[in-house]
Symmetry: C2
Subunit: 200 residues, 2 copies
């Protein structure tokens, strides 16, 4: 849990403790088998307490994913070295987040047991975390354009496109390894595509 | 059905007629509600005849998709203008196939009614058509490297990476349109990423 690790359980807001319990359930049995009753039991509170925070399980999962990916992105970007070249910096940050997502235990467990829960975010709408990443990238593109390090173009279209380009590397990289091709080779290709694609 | 349109129904191999019937079922009611009995009824043959060709519905769907995407790729590439620049030619062919898939009625219907049927191809293994596309692209990369029009690198890793980069544009482009961003803008970004990514 990265930056939250040093905070003792009792010091965390109640809402985070409930999300921690929901997260444990997801990792233990998968989301489809997780019940509000079990989240309440693990949190040591009543069903009604959980129910007042999240009227249904999809809302709870949405908040759990938003917290998880938000922390993941923040921790990943904080660990990236500073880089004066905005195209290279953006490409490397995108690949680092792609890798971190692929290795994230909540993400892995969802893909393993409940992959259909991710379909709405692929087919119907951007999730909150996806949108946050796009906003962050668009701001980096705008800043890079101002200093001449990134080519002209609508920053929103560019940011959404590089996120779309990364989708396959997050979800399907493992279907493309083998015959001498390692995940790192694929990631290096993604970094190169994006870095070159952003150059003036 | 592109190149097959001019062939009268009676001249087509029986196997193709059964696949035509299965395709009609998929478009009418979706795959989950399609039965072997209905495919046989529409084909005007016995259940046993269909069953001998495809022992189960997943095998039938696999063959139907392989035929559909195979025809789509062949027709799309045949319609592409010749281009002496191998990096640009490959990028434009990739985007053309991406667009054609996104507009294909079988693909659209699957995403609409049975998107979970596509999950194995995202999470577990390459489909036959994906592999055929990768083989085609890898051969183009190799040829382009020989003439100096495409940069060095393992052609298989490069081909798999550009297919991974296109995944999001096939599946999720519609989640990224809006606020002045059109599908064409996203496709132009993909073409640019891939073309620049392939240059020496």
């Amino acid at each position: 849990m990265t930056s939250l690790r040093h905070i003792g359980r009792s010091e965390r807001p109640a809402r985070d403790l409930y999300l921690d319990a929901a997260r444990e359930c997801l990792l233990d049995v998968g989301w489809r088998r997780t019940t509000l009753t079990e989240v309440a039991r693990r949190s040591g509170v009543s069903r009604m307490t959980i129910y007042r925070a999240w009227p249904d399980m999809p809302t709870l999962l949405g908040d759990l994913m938003t917290r998880e990916w938000g922390e993941l992105v923040a921790a990943t970007l904080a660990a990236e070295p500073t880089d004066d070249d905005p195209a290279r910096a953006l490409a490397h940050a995108l690949v680092a987040v792609t890798r971190a997502l692929r290795d994230n235990e909540v993400f892995v467990r969802l893909l393993e047991l409940d992959p259909d829960l991710l379909l709405p975010y692929l087919l119907a709408r951007r999730g909150r975390s996806q949108q946050a990443i796009i906003d962050l990238l668009a701001a980096q593109v705008t800043a890079g354009q101002a200093t001449g390090g990134i080519r002209a173009g609508d920053p929103t279209a560019i940011a959404r496109s590089v996120v779309l380009a990364a989708h396959g590397f997050v979800l399907s990289a493992q279907t493309m390894v083998g015959d001498g091709v390692e995940p790192d080779d694929l990631d290096a290709e993604l970094a190169l595509l994006v870095e070159r694609g952003l150059r003036p």
